[in-house]
Amino acid sequence: MTGIQLPSYLDQDEKTRARLDRLKQREVILEVNNLTKVFDSPQGRITALKNVSFKTHRREFVCIIGPSGCGKSTLVRMLAGLESITSGEILLDGEPKLEPGPDRGMVFQGYTLFPWLTVKKNVMFGLQMQGRSKSQAESEAMQWVEMVGLSKFANHYPQQLSGGMKQRVAIARALANQPRILLMDEPFGALDAQTRAKMQASLFDIWRNIDITICFITHDLDEAIYLADRILVLKAHPGEVQELIEVPVPRPRNPEQFISPEFLATKKRLEELIHPPVSDKEEEPFQLIRMARAGDEVENGLESVE
């Protein structure tokens, strides 16, 4: 990025600052205090997460990002109640949460739709678990199916759908329970670039229209900046909070902002945090062995050496 003067990622314009201030005054939905996770493995005890604390406010969009092995998946699984807590606490609306429940919806990278149920029945599943009658669940489910634009596919089975469509169903299924928070574990990680962009736009539409707080895990820096109000940056070994970045990119967001100065400044900061200039000691660097001469004159402007 030589020659381009970027602003600091901490600079926010008036409107964005005011928006973030208002956001932080809203009620706290999720509060995580000193969350620690230790796994017992044959190699000994491994600390996956250490003293992670943060808060998310109502209708906030938080992204969690970090290098591989930083425990971001473990963190979101703990939030969902799928992983036990070694120490610390998770409060949802001030209530401690240890078990999984419909108040925290979860969208997995692997879709996890029930293959034996149609789209509509997948979305009805949670509603029926809450004790809704079949007809009630059906009419509610159809609203959610419509919201994600799949009414035409309501009676299709998951394996008849594309990856993007499957993930829409998974989102509808999680939202149908009207959870307080939607946890998303790299939900678009398996999708191709175009589908991913479409899904991000759809997610914005959903988020704008319903009262939902989103906690979104990703390893894609652009995705995190594009989606989030704030980004929780973790570091690896052990997983600890490095920084909670307030994204200075104004809303509403659109794909053109990918090359705006605020966006690039934020990205630069994330790069510094996630890909520090020290090399990884565990892996050997590539050994440079020259095995080809052909074409060197094109690369170097020299006569090829025979």
Partner: protein, 333 residues
């Protein structure tokens, strides 16, 4: 949506690659091979039966001539027959005539084919004995009860073992040990406890099926993607719902396939089971017919078991496609 159909005759079909590892064969080629897989053994059997110079170690007497101990139709060893012919010639008696034949235990295909019909119409030698269709029906009933009783306990226990580690640890080590005990070894014990009629036979099929069944079902249950269970938990499913709305529907197609395979095993135990106590069913028919040297009936009965097995399996396979609609939907949009 769907596949672009090409009806252009100018596009020649691709050459069939018969030995491409793990590549599917065209439907036509694959059907042809299926037919061949049945035709080949039949062809070998026909050659051995109908081509006189292939094997044929015996001679069937056509005219006994002057040999007093020969009878028309009896089977004599080739060497003995030649000896008698030579003896008659040198003594100036009328030599016997005969044609090459296979031993009595290898009837020709057409004889067995005929026996498919005649074995049903052959009246039992004694009043107390049963007709073939009664024997077959009896065998099917023994299999049915052995398999159903095993499944009533085995399937739920297997699913519980596959779902809860505690239940698995409590049951599986013993079952793992027990399944190495050959079911027929319990024959005498089963007769002592359950009498000589169908009781011990059903028990042998039960023992032969049950222990495998629990382990197979438990393994199938464990293969269910744990992410589906986790998804259900985050949607509010608990205990019974988890079992009945997620685990069971999630494994049902694999479970169904397991049961089809296990039913095949139950048939193998049938033959041993039917020899225990009073011999009965298709096994009784086979041993009885072998005693009378009606080997065409023996072959017919053995092939019938195969046909019943194959047809019931195909039927169950076809049924499965209709019970589980999500299995047959196309995988492309």
């Amino acid at each position: 949506m769907g596949i672009l159909k090409v009806d252009d005759a100018s596009i020649a079909p691709e050459k069939v690659q018969w030995f491409a590892a793990r590549r599917p064969l065209p439907q036509k080629a694959s059907r042809m091979l299926t037919v061949f897989s049945f035709l080949m053994p039949l062809l070998i059997w026909s050659i051995v039966s109908y081509v006189p110079f292939v094997w044929h170690p015996k001679v069937a007497v056509v005219d006994p001539g002057s040999v007093s101990w020969f009878q028309e139709g009896s089977l004599i060893d080739k060497a003995d027959f030649a000896e008698e012919v030579e003896l008659a010639m040198t003594e100036g008696r009328l030599p016997p005539t005969g044609e090459p034949a296979n031993p009595v235990y290898l009837p020709a295909p057409h004889e067995v084919a005929k026996a498919f019909y005649t074995s049903f119409t052959t009246e039992p030698k004694r009043k107390s004995e049963s007709w073939l269709h009664e024997s077959l029906w009896h065998s099917v009933q023994v299999i049915f009860w052995g398999f159903v009783l095993s499944s009533i306990i085995g399937i739920p226990l297997g699913i519980l073992c596959g779902t809860y580690v505690a239940i698995s640890r409590l049951h599986e080590p013993f079952i793992e040990f027990f399944r190495y005990l050959p079911a027929p070894a319990f024959g005498a014990l089963a007769v002592a406890i359950l009498g000589i009629h169908d009781g011990p036979k059903i028990a042998i099929i039960f023992i032969g099926t049950f222990f495998q069944q629990v382990l197979v079902v438990a393994n199938t249950t464990r293969k269910l993607d744990v992410a589906l269970i986790e998804a259900a938990l985050t949607l509010g499913a608990r205990k019974f719902h988890l079992l009945f709305r997620v685990v069971i529907p999630g494994i049902i197609t694999d479970l169904y396939r397991d049961l089809r395979i296990l039913l095949g095993w139950a048939w193998t135990y049938l033959i041993v089971a039917e020899l225990i106590g009073t011999s009965s069913g298709i096994t009784w028919f086979i041993t009885q017919q072998a005693r009378y040297k009606n080997f065409d009936n023996v072959f017919a009965a053995i092939i019938m078991i195969g046909i019943i097995g194959l047809i019931s399996d195909l039927l169950l396979g076809w049924l499965g496609k209709h019970i589980f609609p999500w299995e047959k939907v196309s995988r492309n949009v």
